[in-house]
Amino acid sequence: MSDLVPLPVVIPLLGAAITLMLTRFPQAQRVVSLTALSAVLGVAIALLAVVSERGPLVVSVGGWPIPLGIVLVADQFAALMLVVSAAVTLCVLVYSIGQGLADGSEDTPISIYHPSYLVLTAGVTTAFLSGDLFNLYVGFEILLVASYVLITVGATEDRVRAGTTYVVVSLLSSLLFLTGVGLVYAAAGTLNMAQLAGRLDALPDGLRLMLNCMLLLAFGIKAAVFPLSAWLPDSYPTALAPVTAVFAGLLTKVGIYAIIRVETLLFPGGPTPDLLLVLALLTMLVGILGAIAQSDVKRMLSFNLVSHIGYLLFGIGLATDRGLSAAIFYAVHHIAILTTLFLVVGLVERFAGSTSLDRLGGLARLSPLLAILFFVPAMNLAGIPPFSGFLGKLGLIQAGVADGGALPLALVAGGLATSLLTLYALARVWNMAFWRPPTIAPEPAGEPRLPWLMVGSTVALVVAGLALTVLAGPLFDVTVNAADDLLDRAPYVDAVRDAGAR
């Protein structure tokens, strides 16, 4: 069974290698990519099933004795994130294939897109599976470098300019992360996270806090936590629609994943949770006000993304099983919904030729399908019941109220306010882009057609979002178990230790 563990990394890397060798055969590239990501999804689901049944799976790469080599650890949390990310990346791949087929490959050099995309996936899965702090860094590095390539695909002037912001900020975050890893190794003499859990406990409080904050700073940039978030809305919206979609959905959540690991496994019980709560409040409010100030749908969604990172931090900062499980649920929801919305906006851009609210209008009449595809996930994002966004938020609010402290209650209030403002921002888009009569006469150049692969993959994601709602009961069972394991630490640490004893 533990043979499953490395597969989510290895399969996309092999796929990337093969697609690189097949640059002249786009058809074959598509087949390889689709096969690879479908396989990853299958493996991820199997992993989740196995891990939920038997507890964490641990693999020591190369058969080295633990903690000498690198360990891969798949616990419920990691497996759940794997499933979601695999499903999302697969859908986005289908969407981008649809787009590539429709546009011809001239504007979007698909031969480069496929390997980069697969490596990106491998980076994400590496980060999720890694049981080694430096390897976590490597995972970040893989996904970041791949994202540098993807964000500038096509190399238009806008993309290169936005890409510059993105790359430089990301490099700084990597540098800080690497510094943090170095400091941790210097202080604790190991990189194995299970072993670190014990060794870091033994360090003086001040030193622990320093290491903790250093890592949080690095991940905070990636997760777009205010005040480290300003780079995101400036860089994401310019990329190709599927690229923006997968970045918005996944990449910030990898940062969140790392924050959760750091806070639960490496440095539990410090003063950082309160810090996270304060940052959560700021991130929520500053982010959502930013969204209100936008006149472009993609930018609006990007600010929304930042704002809702605050919800995730809220759950993490509570440091209770209810808070953490709600945060994990919300992360799952947010990955699916933000990806969906960016894909829908990609369709809108294709249909109407713009994403600017100054130019859009009358879409509800022109394309009822687009209207439904936008409205359902938009309401979901705004936390309108019965959708998953509401359920996640409800979990967070309950956890905050159950905690009962002044700061958590302030966050409950802030979260509710953010929810209202999110609704305002999205209803504004709906009013202007979908309801208002078109301000500009539709271009006469024929009916704009939406490729069925793009529509189909978007529909699939919308349906997946609804499935999160219907299946919220079992899903919450998983996230609560995952959160319990995370807070307990013992399942993770023991699994790694037992694997070493074998």
Partner: protein
């Protein structure tokens, strides 16, 4: 009950299709869903009229306490009848209201039925969270219904306003529910009610819940959204804004009041806001010219009345509230429907333009008259029965507060009588001097709905006694104060009756006098809403302008400031400083360190790009020297090679850039930047000092030398680490290299067609090439250099392969080997240009990269197939004929992949940054 919700849902989904097939007749089909709810409700009468309950429970999200708990009790039974009955009749009415082929009718039908379903779900929810789910759904559906004609700006604005105001209240209510549920440990209202809630947050929870209820029911100060929502089609107003949605808040008050009616601040809050609303709404209604707006303000007033009566919190007031609730839904929806008919038939709703309608449409006038009589509280209509009960409830109350309430209710009812008369005369009376507007005689079947509702109002009044029997189990859940009151048309000559007569007379007088035209309301909620919204917008713009500067340096600055402030603060305040630290191991270290610092500082100050880059390289070499001093020659070798290759590649890039850096930052910001840079350096150094000094455990790497030989089968620890112990990292890092190379190609070639040149296709002869700075092979190339490089090329490549294979035990390895081979290619390119490069490596760089990655990752996978862990290596000692004993570690195959990737990387960069930039032409320096 869940079945009925699902039926509504399915009907809603099917509605657009049905409308497309059948046209507006499809609305008849759609009305079956709400009628089904009505029928079901009637069938349950026998189970609730004795105080019983019908319950259903389904699991949904256990962990959140969010279950589908449905429960039909008396008050919800009443609401079910209203929601189903009025909903069905309004849908039937809509068939005639909308012209055939009306745009968006399918959407209307779907959303309308969905709304009816949500409303049904709301009133039968026993779980507070589930109630909130339906509550918000009604909000969203009403948002969609209000803007049935979204092309009008006012429709869109009103829809948004209703959405935001009711959601604001809804979210507050959710907060209140969670406070209640968390302290009670359950979200099932029937369970919470068994053990009345208490605790420190109870007052806050109730206030929040009431915020939701009051905003939904358009109670002061939230009243303003309801008149604005009259932008909706009239059937929508008749249903949502008379019978159903605005009653949700009243319903909630009615449901919860039995349990928490005695807790602060429930009663005072409801009485105050309710009575204010009753007066303000009634007063405003008197001043309207638009019939529909008149009704809207009348509704606001009546909602205030209802809330105040339920807020009374006694058995008698609850009974009165329930009766009024029923009466109001019946007469108000009738009147709205009548206004819709007038509007469509005459094209106006302005009571100054309408005249003589009583003559011209007598049936309509009779229907309206029946409903208006109920509204004004004439016996024996339902309105009268309810109002009598309300008067009685407060008249026989105990405190002075009750008397105040009674007075205000009487004044409010006077206003009601006055605006009822204004409505009737405005709509139907003959007005001398007003020209008759054209009238299309309304079809008879159109009147069916309003007529049924109006007659029902009469019937309810007549059937007050049975109604009393049915409703008493509900009112009995409230504390009884005074003797029990019973609904009836005739109680004999009593106080309430006298009050009723007084009210009617005063109302008539007020109608005759008319409202003074100049009187304005002291508080305009709509203006406050606008101020708040524009305030939010302005705050959003200003805050975003301040935080989102759009400048990369400022973003980096913020991040570094956080580093300095946060970690600097921890360093100063919290960290234990090590006491006995060694400054350095050898005296060379500080010298080299100083050199690195000097090179770095000079690099920052350099004006020319090339200078800066070389200085960065120098500091990199300095790091390599430090590695040597630490006894890591292998690492140093790699560092040297990397620095060299980087400089070579960067030089290729620099050709495209101006020679000098562009405008330097002005002096003041420069000082800030220098200070920040120094601070970051100091903090980073201090953190390192502290971290190293704080170590207590033995580092892991102490075990590496022994394990590398015994388990990894190699003597070169660095190499064993790279290809075995931490091969997983290396696998990741080579994929980074692969992607980086791909990315460079993507940026330089940009288009798929151009990507073909990545394979090294010779430049067509007819394409002129502008020789640029450092343009390899163009112009003054040296034949001698070209020949020499061809001669040494193979030697260097051979050496690189040697490095690759010897790496496991001696300095070298795939990475170093690949770099050496890559440098060999670079020399060929620099000496002979792109063609020479193609001759040296006639392969697609992307293919080499892919092959390298494939070999490395494939090695790892093969180990799995062999039954070992991924990337596990095996030591094989074989005897080969010529070579003799060969000690082979399978990780060598992994290293071959690394080698290929590195070669591919350099080849790719030479093709893109070198040859392609040559081709594209280089701007003159």
């Amino acid at each position: 009950m869940l079945v009925l919700v699902v039926v509504h849902g399915l009907t809603a989904v099917a509605a657009p299709v049905l409308v497309r097939w059948l046209g507006r007749q499809a609305l008849y089909l759609c009305s079956l869903a709400p009628f089904a709810a009505l029928g079901w409700g009637l069938a349950q009468t026998g189970r609730v009229d004795q105080g019983g309950a019908v319950t259903e429970t389904y699991r949904w999200v256990d962990r959140l306490g969010l279950q589908i708990d449905l429960r039909l009790v008396t008050i919800s039974w009443l609401m079910v009848l209203l929601v189903g009955g009025v909903g069905g009749l309004v849908l039937v009415y809509s068939v005639r209201y909308f012209p055939a082929g009306q745009d968006g009718l399918g959407r209307y039908a779907g959303v309308f039925v969905a709304f009816a379903g949500a409303m049904f779900g709301l009133v039968v929810s026993d779980n507070l969270l589930l109630l909130y789910v339906f509550w918000e759904l009604t909000t969203v559906f009403s948002y969609l219904l209000i803007a049935q004609d979204p092309t009008r700006r006012s429709s869109r604005r009103s829809a948004m306003q209703a959405l935001l105001v009711t959601t604001l209240g809804g979210l507050a209510m959710l907060g209140g529910f969670v406070l209640l549920g968390e302290s009670a440990g359950t979200y099932r209202w029937s369970q919470i009610a068994e053990q009345p809630p208490s605790g420190p947050h109870l007052a806050a929870a109730l206030t929040l819940v009431l915020l939701g209820a009051l905003s939904k029911s358009a109670i002061f100060p939230f009243s303003f959204w309801l008149p604005a929502a009259m932008a909706a089609p009239t059937p929508v107003s008749a249903y949502l804004h008379a019978a159903a949605m605005v009653k949700a808040g009243v319903f909630l008050v009615a449901l919860l009041g039995a349990t928490v009616g005695g807790d602060q601040p429930w009663r005072p809050l409801l009485l105050t806001t309710g009575l204010i609303t009753m007066l303000l709404g009634g007063w405003a209604a008197l001043r309207q010219h638009d019939l529909k707006l008149l009704l809207a303000y009348g509704t606001v007033s009546q909602l205030g009345f209802l809330v105040a009566v339920f807020g009374g919190g006694t058995a008698n007031s609850a009974l009165a509230g329930a009766a009024l609730l029923l009466a109001h839904a019946l007469f108000k929806s009738t009147l709205f429907l009548v206004v819709g008919i007038i509007d469509v038939s005459t094209g106006t709703r302005d009571l100054r333009e309408l005249t003589g309608l009583a003559r011209r449409t007598p049936v309509l006038a009779v229907v309206a008259g029946l409903a208006a009589a109920s509204m004004a509280g004439l016996p024996p209509f339902a309105g009268f029965v309810g109002k009598e009960a309300a008067f009685a409830a407060f008249l026989h109350g105990t405190g002075t507060a009750d008397l105040v309430v009674l007075t205000v209710i009487a004044i409010g009812s006077t206003l009601t009588v006055a605006y009822t008369l204004r409505f009737l005369s405005g709509a139907f009376a003959d007005k001398p001097g007003v020209p008759e507007v054209a009238l299309r005689e309304p079809a008879t079947d159109w009147l069916v709905g309003p007529a049924i509702l109006a007659v029902a109002g009469l019937g309810v009044g007549a059937a007050a006694a049975p109604l009393d029997t049915v409703l008493t189990p509900y009112s009995d859940t409230f504390p009884a104060v005074g003797s029990a009151y019973h609904l009836a048309v005739w109680h004999g000559f009593s106080g309430p009756l006298g009050l009723s007569v007084l009210v009617l007379l005063a109302g008539y007088a007020l109608y005759r006098v008319g409202a003074p035209s100049g009187a304005r309301l002291p508080f305009d909620g709509a203006a406050a809403y606008r101020r708040v919204m524009s305030g939010v917008d302005r705050l959003a713009v200003e805050l975003t302008g301040a935080t989102q500067r759009g400048s990369l340096p400022s973003y980096l600055g913020v991040i570094l400031l956080v580093l300095v402030a946060g970690l600097g603060g921890i360093l100063i305040g919290a960290v234990p400083w090590p006491e006995n630290a060694r400054a350095w191991d050898t005296s060379l270290q500080p010298v080299v360190g100083a050199g690195i610092v000097v090179a770095a500082v000079t690099a920052v100050r350099a004006l020319r790009r090339l200078t800066a880059m070389i200085l960065v390289g120098v500091s990199g070499y300095g790091v390599a020297v430090l590695f040597v001093l630490h006894g890591a020659p292998d690492l140093a070798l790699t560092q040297f090679l990397v620095e060299t290759a980087t400089i070579a590649m960067m030089v290729l890039v620099l050709r495209r850039l101006p020679e000098k850096f562009s405008e330097r930052p002005i002096r003041t910001s420069r000082v800030g930047r220098i200070a920040l840079g120094v601070a970051v350096g100091v903090v980073a150094a201090a953190m390192t000092y502290v971290a190293v000094g704080g170590r207590e455990a033995v580092p892991l790497s102490d075990a590496f030398p022994g394990e590398a030989v015994s388990f990894g089968g190699g003597k070169n620890i660095v190499n064993v680490i790279l290809v075995d112990i931490r091969a997983w990292d290396t696998m990741g890092e080579i994929s980074v290299l692969v992607v980086a190379a791909t990315g460079v190609a993507s940026l330089i070639f940009r288009r798929s067609a151009a990507l073909a040149r990545r394979r090294g296709v010779p430049v067509p002869a007819d394409q002129p090439v502008t020789p640029g700075w450092l343009s390899a092979g163009a112009g003054g190339q040296s034949v001698i250099l070209e020949v020499v490089t061809r001669l040494v090329f193979h030697t260097i490549v051979l050496f690189s392969i040697f490095l690759l294979f010897s790496g496991h035990n001696a300095p070298g390895g795939g990475f170093a080997g690949g770099l050496v081979a890559g440098l060999a290619l670079a020399i060929r390119y620099l000496a002979g240009g792109p063609d020479e490069l193609t001759a040296a490596a006639p392969v697609d760089a992307g293919w080499v990269l892919g092959a390298g990655l494939f070999v490395s990752v494939g090695t790892g996978v093969l180990a799995m197939f062999a039954g070992a862990q991924v990337l596990q290596s095996a030591v094989v000692d074989v005897h080969l004929p010529v070579l003799g004993e060969v000690h082979l570690v399978t990780s060598i195959f992994f290293d071959i992949g690394v080698y290929l990737v590195v070669v591919g990387l350099i080849l790719d960069i030479l093709r893109s940054l070198g040859a392609e930039i040559d081709r594209q032409g280089v701007p003159a320096p």
